[in-house]
Symmetry: C2
Subunit: 169 residues, 2 copies
DNA sequence: GTATGGCGGTTGTTCGTGCAACCATGCGGT
DNA sequence: ACCGCATGGTTGCACGAACAACCGCCATAC
């Protein structure tokens, strides 16, 4: 391995070429811009920050509209403590309730309330329409596919590397 | 296509179809996982959080290794106040210095110090290699292109919608 | 039965960030 | 020259999230 100290040879020097840089930084910038915009809108229109929205969303999709705390945490990619607090707030607002787990006294479920369900459907409309206009509208059909397959390939490794907390459940 | 291109209940109901969902949620999850992993590593190896790294990076690329605060803020997508604090920390650590602007007494530059430059090159090696293995390695050449072009199309609108602060400079 | 280790969830603390309010400076009009 | 008003940057404050330490409960071994 000749460590070509300077210049264009990429992988070894650690330099990214033009295209790689575009692909990578674009991801960062797009995410930052979009999530900021969407979060702001969601909060403004429904008083619901993006992370809260996602919690409600996952719950709504789950069977019985309830999930174990740790599953929820890994779904929304939050630390356990982070989720505890978030659920605190949502429970305080009446959008979900904690429910103890019959089969495991340690466990707790978060369960959507009717109010939470309602709030979600209200928020979902505006949110998804924004996702469309800000993001999906710029994508062609195959690009959609490409993105999807890229994420699928990237995620396993990334998730492992991130090792959100440990919670192997 | 059995489930034809546009389908059951698309835009009007606000529902996303399978592919759209994959593309969108994947973006969220990949970003979350990757940035968490990279941030952790960077901080562990060099005591340098990801945002700080980006500031140094932009500075290094800028002419004279200095930038106006507001330009820097919009580059790293941070609010003005956020950047002020971040620059505070970096200055405290000796990685950059503030420099007043001759042509505009209100303005301030952030300018890389030799120490900052050095820190950056050190960090860049490990960081970019992680970006490669965690992200770029999973992409084919055309996918790289697709991503790049997608970001370019998405960004202008997103940046506008985000309206990070106001700072029109 | 009791002891040990692992897991699920909550709490104390700290840190980074956004928003709003605030100077100070620049710029245009009159 | 003066006055308003926009702009670049910094501060007070509040909030959301991570980390580490903790407690209670499960599972297994003895």
């Amino acid at each position: 391995m000749s460590t070509t100290t300077t210049i264009p040879s990429p992988a070894e020097t650690g330099t990214l070429d033009e295209r790689e840089l575009r692909a990578w930084r674009g991801l960062l910038r797009v995410h930052a811009s979009l999530s900021k915009a969407l979060d702001a809108e969601l909060d403004r229109e429904h008083g619901l920050p993006l992370t809260s929205y996602e919690v409600l969303l996952y719950l709504a999709e789950a069977e019985g509209e309830k999930m174990r705390m740790c599953d929820l945490a890994s779904s929304v990619i939050l630390s356990r403590s982070g989720l505890t607090r978030l659920v605190d707030r949502l429970e305080r607002d009446g959008l979900l309730v904690r429910e103890s787990c019959a089969s495991d006294a340690r466990g707790a479920f978060a369960k959507l309330t009717p109010a939470g369900h309602e709030k979600l459907t209200a928020a979902r409309a505006t949110h998804l329409s924004s996702v469309r206009t800000l993001f999906l509208a710029h994508l062609g059909a195959e690009e959609l596919e490409v993105l999807g397959s890229v994420w699928d390939r990237v995620l396993p490794g990334a998730a492992g590397a991130a090792a959100v907390d440990d919670c192997g459940c």
